[in-house]
C-alpha cells in the first residue's frame, strides 16, 4: 500500500494492491446498482398498488345505494283503471311525500322535498301496479331509490358542515334527511340496479348490464371469427407454407399488425364497414369485426408458437404410418397444440374486452338505455361505458365508474386465470 519506504526507495506496487484499493468502492457501486434494480421493481409494484387502492377506494361504495321508505297509498283517484301504464306515478310519489311531511308548504319547499327521491321511484311504483293491479287502494310500504345527491351525502362524499350555497343540498333537505334517519326510513341497501339496468342520466338508475351484454355480443362475434381464422392462418404458415417471398410478406405483415395502434383499426372500421358496406352504427356486429381484425395477429402469433412446440417426431410418426399431410395436422398436431392456442385466444379476448379506442370510432359511444337484444342493436361495451361515465360531471358517477372498472377487472382476471389454469393443466414439456 505504501508509495515508498522511509529512504525514498520505490517499492514495487503490485496489481493486487490496486485491486484491493478500489475494492471497497467497487463493492459499493455493486450494492448501489443492485438497489437501483430493486427500487425499480418496487416502484412498478407500488404504482400497481396505488392504482388498485385508488380504484377500489373510489368505487367500493357504489355497490350500495341509499333507499327511502315510502308509505305509499295507491290512490284510486290518481290511478285510472283503464290506463294504468300511463297514469301519473310521479304525482303518486309526490302526494305520498307530502303526506309524510305534512308541514311542508310553499312551492319551492315542495320542489326541494320531491328532489329527495329519484325519478326511478315513479317507475318502480308503475311496475308494481302493472304487475298486480289489486294493490290499488291499499297502503304499502315501499323502498324507493333516493336521489344521487342524498346518496352521496349518506356515503359521506358531501360534507354537511359547509355553507349552504356550496353544497348540493339545502338546510331544509338536510333536516328532512335527519328526520328520516331518526325514523329509520332511510337506509343503504345492496345496489341491484347497478347490475341489472342499462345506462341512465341519473346515477342512481344507471347500471352496467346493457354495456355488459354489448360486450358479450361483440366478443362473441370476435371469438367466432378470430379463433377459426387465426388457427387456420397459423396452421397454414407453420405447416404448409413454402418458404418464399409471399409467406415472408405475410409474416412481416402479421408482426406489424400486432403493433399497429388500435385506433387505426377504428379508422379502418369506420371507412370500410360503416361507410363502404353500410353496416349499422353502434352495432356489436361491427365492433366485433373490428376487434377481430385487431386480435387476429395476437392469436396467430400464439397459435404458431403452440404449433412450433409440438415435436417433429409426432409429425414424422403420423406421416410414417401413411397419414396425408392434412390428416397429420388435423389428427395429431392440432390436438396437441390446442391448449396453447386456446391460451393465446383467451389472452387475445381479454385484450379485446378492455379495448376502447377503435370502438369510439364506429359509434359505440352513444347513450343507450335499452339492453341490446341482438348483434345489430345499438349498444355500447363495458370500457366505453366507463369512458362515458368518467366524462359525466355528477359526483355519483365517479363512484359508479370505479365500480364498473372493478367489474371489468374481475372479468379480465377471470379470463387470465383461465388461461393460466389451461396452460398449467395441459402444458407438456417434450
Amino acid at each position: 500500500m505504501n508509495e515508498g519506504d522511509s529512504k525514498g526507495n520505490k517499492v514495487e506496487r503490485k496489481t493486487i494492491d490496486i485491486v484491493h484499493q478500489g475494492l471497497a468502492k467497487r463493492y459499493r457501486a455493486e450494492r448501489r446498482f443492485r438497489l437501483y434494480g430493486l427500487t425499480a421493481i418496487l416502484i412498478g409494484l407500488l404504482c400497481l398498488v396505488i392504482l388498485f387502492i385508488s380504484i377500489v377506494g373510489n368505487g367500493y361504495k357504489a355497490f350500495q345505494q341509499t333507499y327511502l321508505e315510502l308509505e305509499v297509498f295507491f290512490d284510486p283517484a290518481l290511478l285510472d283503471q283503464h290506463n294504468l301504464s300511463t297514469a301519473d306515478y310521479t304525482g303518486l310519489v309526490k302526494s305520498n311525500l307530502r303526506t309524510m311531511f305534512p308541514e311542508v308548504r310553499g312551492r319551492s319547499d315542495k320542489r326541494q322535498l320531491y328532489k329527495l327521491i329519484s325519478p326511478g321511484g315513479a317507475f318502480q311504483l308503475r311496475k308494481m301496479v302493472l304487475r298486480d293491479p289489486d294493490i290499488i287502494g291499499r297502503n304499502i310500504s315501499v323502498w324507493v331509490p333516493a336521489d344521487d345527491d342524498v346518496d352521496m351525502l349518506m356515503k359521506g362524499h358531501f360534507k354537511a358542515d359547509v355553507a349552504e350555497s356550496s353544497r348540493r343540498l339545502s338546510d331544509k333537505q338536510l333536516a328532512w334527511i335527519e328526520q328520516l334517519k331518526e325514523q329509520g326510513k332511510i337506509r343503504k341497501k345492496f345496489n341491484k340496479t347497478f347490475f341489472t339496468a342499462g345506462d341512465s342520466r341519473e346515477p342512481e338508475l344507471a347500471g352496467i348490464w346493457g354495456a355488459a351484454v354489448g360486450s358479450f355480443f361483440a366478443l362473441l362475434v370476435t371469438l367466432l371469427l378470430s379463433f377459426p381464422i387465426g388457427v387456420a392462418a397459423a396452421v397454414y404458415l407453420e405447416e404448409f407454407a413454402p418458404k418464399n417471398r409471399w409467406t415472408d410478406l405475410i409474416e412481416v405483415n402479421i408482426n406489424n399488425l400486432a403493433a399497429v395502434p388500435s385506433i387505426v383499426f377504428g379508422l379502418l372500421g369506420l371507412a370500410v364497414f360503416l361507410n363502404f358496406f353500410g353496416f349499422p352504427r353502434s352495432a356489436p356486429l361491427v365492433g366485433g369485426l373490428v376487434l377481430t381484425l385487431m386480435t387476429l395477429p395476437t392469436i396467430i402469433i400464439a397459435s404458431r408458437a403452440a404449433l412450433q412446440s409440438v415435436p417433429p417426431s409426432i409429425r414424422e410418426g403420423a406421416l410414417g404410418v401413411g397419414a396425408s399431410k392434412m390428416q397429420m395436422v388435423v389428427h395429431h398436431v392440432l390436438p396437441l397444440a390446442l391448449p396453447g392456442m386456446l391460451t393465446g385466444t383467451i389472452i387475445g379476448m381479454a385484450r379485446a374486452l378492455g379495448e376502447t379506442a377503435p370502438l369510439l370510432m364506429i359509434g359505440m359511444v352513444a347513450f343507450i338505455v335499452d339492453i341490446p337484444g341482438g348483434l345489430t342493436d345499438p349498444s355500447t361495451v363495458l370500457p366505453v361505458q366507463i369512458y362515458l361515465w368518467a366524462d359525466s360531471p355528477e359526483r355519483a358517477f365517479v363512484e359508479r365508474t370505479s365500480a364498473a372498472i372493478m367489474v371489468l377487472l374481475v372479468f379480465l382476471m377471470l379470463m387470465n386465470a383461465a388461461a393460466i389454469v389451461l396452460r398449467r393443466k395441459f402444458e407438456k414439456r417434450w
Binding site: 485491486v19 457501486a29 455493486e30 448501489r32 446498482f33 443492485r34 437501483y36 434494480g37 425499480a40 421493481i41 416502484i43 412498478g44 404504482c47 400497481l48 392504482l51 385508488s54 380504484i55 377459426p228 381464422i229 387456420a232 397454414y236 405475410i250 412481416v252 405483415n253 408482426n255 406489424n256 403493433a259 399497429v260 395502434p261 388500435s262 385506433i263 387505426v264 379508422l267 379502418l268 369506420l270 371507412a271 353500410g278 353496416f279 349499422p280 387476429l296 396467430i300 396425408s324 378492455g354 376502447t356 379506442a357 369510439l360 370510432m361 359509434g363 359511444v365 348483434l375 370500457p383 366505453v384 366507463i386 369512458y387 368518467a390 372498472i405 371489468l408 377487472l409 379480465l412 387470465n416
Partner: protein, 462 residues
C-alpha cells in the same frame, strides 16, 4: 328471412349434404364390394358434398351482405322525385339518412314528408325482396352443389385429395386476411386523406404551426377559417411520449436487469407476473386513474412548489402512460438480456469483474440492439396510445415544451374529430384520416425498424 336464419338454414342444409354424400358413398361401395374399394373413407365423400354445398352459398352471402345496402340505396335514390335527386351531395345524404332512420324506426332529424315516407316504404320493400332473393339464391346454390357432387360420387372419385385441397385453399385465404387488413387500412386511410389534401395543401398540413379544425357552418361565423397545421399536435404527442419514456425506460430496464441477473427464482416468479398485470389493465382504466387521481395530485404538488400546473397537464398523462409501458419495456428487455450467452458473463467474472460491472460492460452492450428494438416498440406504443390522453390530456393545441401546460396529441384529435354523428366530407372529419395516415406511417416505420433490429439480434446469438 333474417340473415341469421338464412345461415342457420344453410348449416342444416350442409349437415344434410354431409349425410347424403356419406350415404351415397356407402351405397356405391356396397355395389362394388365393400368400402375398401372406395378411394377414400366415406366421411370424405360426405365432407366434400357438405363443402360444395356450404362454401359457394357463403361466398354469395358475403358478397350480397357487402353490396346490398349500396344497391338498394341507389335504387331508392333513383326513384326519388327530381327535386330531391337534384340536391347537392351532402343534402342528398341527409335525406338518405332520414329514410334509413325511418326504416329502422329511429328518430328522424328532418321532417317526414309523404315522399320520404314513400321512399322508406320502397326501401323496406326492396330490403324484404333482397332478403328473400338471397335466401332463395343461397339455398338453391347449396342444393345444386349437393346434387352435383352427390351424382359424381363413385369409387374412383378422389374425395380425400379434393377435400384436402379445398381445406388448403381455405387456410391460404385465412392467412391472406392479414395482408387484406393492411391493404384495407392503407387504402381507406389514404383515400380519405387524399380527399383532405384536395381541400388543404399538404405543406400547410405538415408544416403549419396552428391547429384549430373548426370549420364554419355559415360564412360569417367567428373563427370560420379552420387551420390544419399539424406541428403543435405532433409536438404534444412527442412531449407526452417523451415523458412516458423517461418514466418507463429507466424503471423498465432496471427491473429487467434485476429480474434477469439478481433475483432468485422465487422473487422472479412473484414479481414478474405482478409487473405484467400492469400491461393487462385496460387503457381506459389508466385514463380514469390519470384524470381522477394523478392529475389533481400533480396539480397540487405543482402549486405548493410554486408552478402553475394546468389540470390537464402533459405531465400527468405522460406519467401514467409511462407506468403503463413499464412492463412492456421490462418483459421485452428481460427476454433480450436472458438471450445473452452465459459464456460472456463467465468470461467477465473470471477476469474479476463484479456483477454490476459485468452487466454494465458486457451484458448490456451485447444486448443493446435488442434493448433499442424494445424501446422503439415502446415508443410506437406510446405514440399510438389513445384512451389515457383522451381522458387526461387536453384538446387545445399548444406549441410548447412545458410539461405543466396542456397539450394535445394526434390520437386525441382523431377521436374528437370523429366522435358522434358527422357528415363525411368536411375537411374537419377528413383531417382525422390524414392524422391517422401520419400515425400509421410513423408507427409502421418504428415497428419495422424495431422488429428488424430484434430479429437480427436474435439470429446473432442463436
Amino acid at each position: 328471412m333474417s340473415p341469421a336464419t338464412i345461415l342457420m338454414a344453410l348449416l342444416i342444409l350442409s349437415s344434410a349434404a354431409y349425410y347424403l354424400g356419406r350415404r351415397r358413398a356407402f351405397a356405391v361401395a356396397s355395389k362394388t364390394g365393400g368400402i375398401r374399394y372406395l378411394h377414400s373413407r366415406p366421411t370424405y365423400y360426405g365432407a366434400l358434398t357438405a363443402l360444395w354445398c356450404g362454401i359457394p352459398a357463403l361466398l354469395l352471402f358475403g358478397l350480397w351482405f357487402g353490396l346490398e345496402d349500396k344497391i338498394i340505396t341507389n335504387l331508392v335514390v333513383a326513384d326519388l322525385p327530381q327535386a330531391i335527386r337534384g340536391l347537392p351531395d351532402n343534402r342528398l345524404n341527409l335525406v338518405v339518412n332520414d329514410i334509413k332512420n325511418l326504416v329502422s324506426g329511429n328518430i328522424v332529424a328532418g321532417e317526414v314528408t309523404a315522399t320520404i315516407q314513400a321512399a322508406a316504404e320502397h326501401y323496406r320493400n326492396l330490403k324484404t325482396t333482397s332478403n328473400a332473393a338471397l335466401a332463395v339464391g343461397m339455398l338453391s346454390l347449396g342444393i345444386v352443389g349437393t346434387v352435383v357432387v352427390r351424382s359424381r360420387i363413385s369409387s374412383t372419385l378422389r374425395a380425400r385429395n379434393l377435400v384436402e385441397q379445398l381445406l388448403k385453399y381455405l387456410l391460404i385465404a385465412c392467412s391472406c386476411l392479414a395482408i387484406l387488413t393492411t391493404i384495407g387500412i392503407v387504402l381507406s386511410v389514404l383515400y380519405e386523406s387524399l380527399r383532405f389534401f384536395e381541400a388543404v395543401s399538404i405543406t400547410d398540413f405538415l408544416f403549419g404551426l396552428e391547429w384549430s379544425p373548426q370549420m364554419a357552418i355559415r360564412a360569417d361565423q367567428v373563427g370560420s377559417s379552420g387551420a390544419f397545421g399539424v406541428i403543435p399536435v405532433f409536438s404534444g404527442t412527442l412531449l407526452i411520449s417523451a415523458i412516458a419514456m423517461l418514466v418507463a425506460v429507466p424503471i423498465g430496464l432496471m427491473s429487467a436487469i434485476y429480474l434477469a441477473e439478481y433475483a432468485n427464482k422465487q422473487f422472479r416468479d412473484v414479481a414478474k407476473p405482478l409487473l405484467e398485470i400492469l400491461a393487462g389493465i385496460p387503457t381506459v382504466v389508466y385514463g380514469f386513474f390519470a384524470a381522477i387521481t394523478v392529475a389533481p395530485f400533480v396539480r397540487n404538488v405543482g402549486s405548493t412548489l410554486g408552478f402553475d400546473v394546468s389540470s390537464e397537464s402533459a405531465l400527468a398523462a405522460g406519467l401514467v402512460m409511462g407506468v403503463m409501458i413499464i412492463p412492456f419495456v421490462s418483459s421485452l428487455s428481460d427476454d433480450v438480456i436472458n438471450a445473452v450467452p452465459q459464456a460472456l458473463r463467465d468470461g467477465a467474472y473470471s477476469l474479476g469483474a463484479t456483477r454490476s460491472e459485468t452487466i454494465k460492460q458486457v451484458v448490456l452492450p451485447a444486448a443493446l440492439p435488442g434493448i433499442v428494438g424494445s424501446i422503439l416498440l415502446a415508443v410506437s406504443r406510446a405514440i399510438g396510445e389513445t384512451m389515457i390522453v383522451v381522458m387526461a390530456a387536453g384538446l387545445s393545441a399548444n406549441l410548447t415544451l412545458n410539461p405543466f401546460k396542456t397539450v394535445t396529441t394526434v390520437t386525441v384529435q382523431i377521436v374528437t374529430l370523429l366522435i358522434g354523428d358527422q357528415e363525411f366530407d368536411s375537411p374537419k372529419t377528413l383531417a382525422a384520416f390524414a392524422l391517422g395516415l401520419v400515425l400509421f406511417i410513423v408507427t409502421l416505420f418504428l415497428n419495422v425498424i424495431a422488429l428488424k433490429v430484434v430479429r437480427r439480434y436474435r439470429e446473432q446469438y442463436e
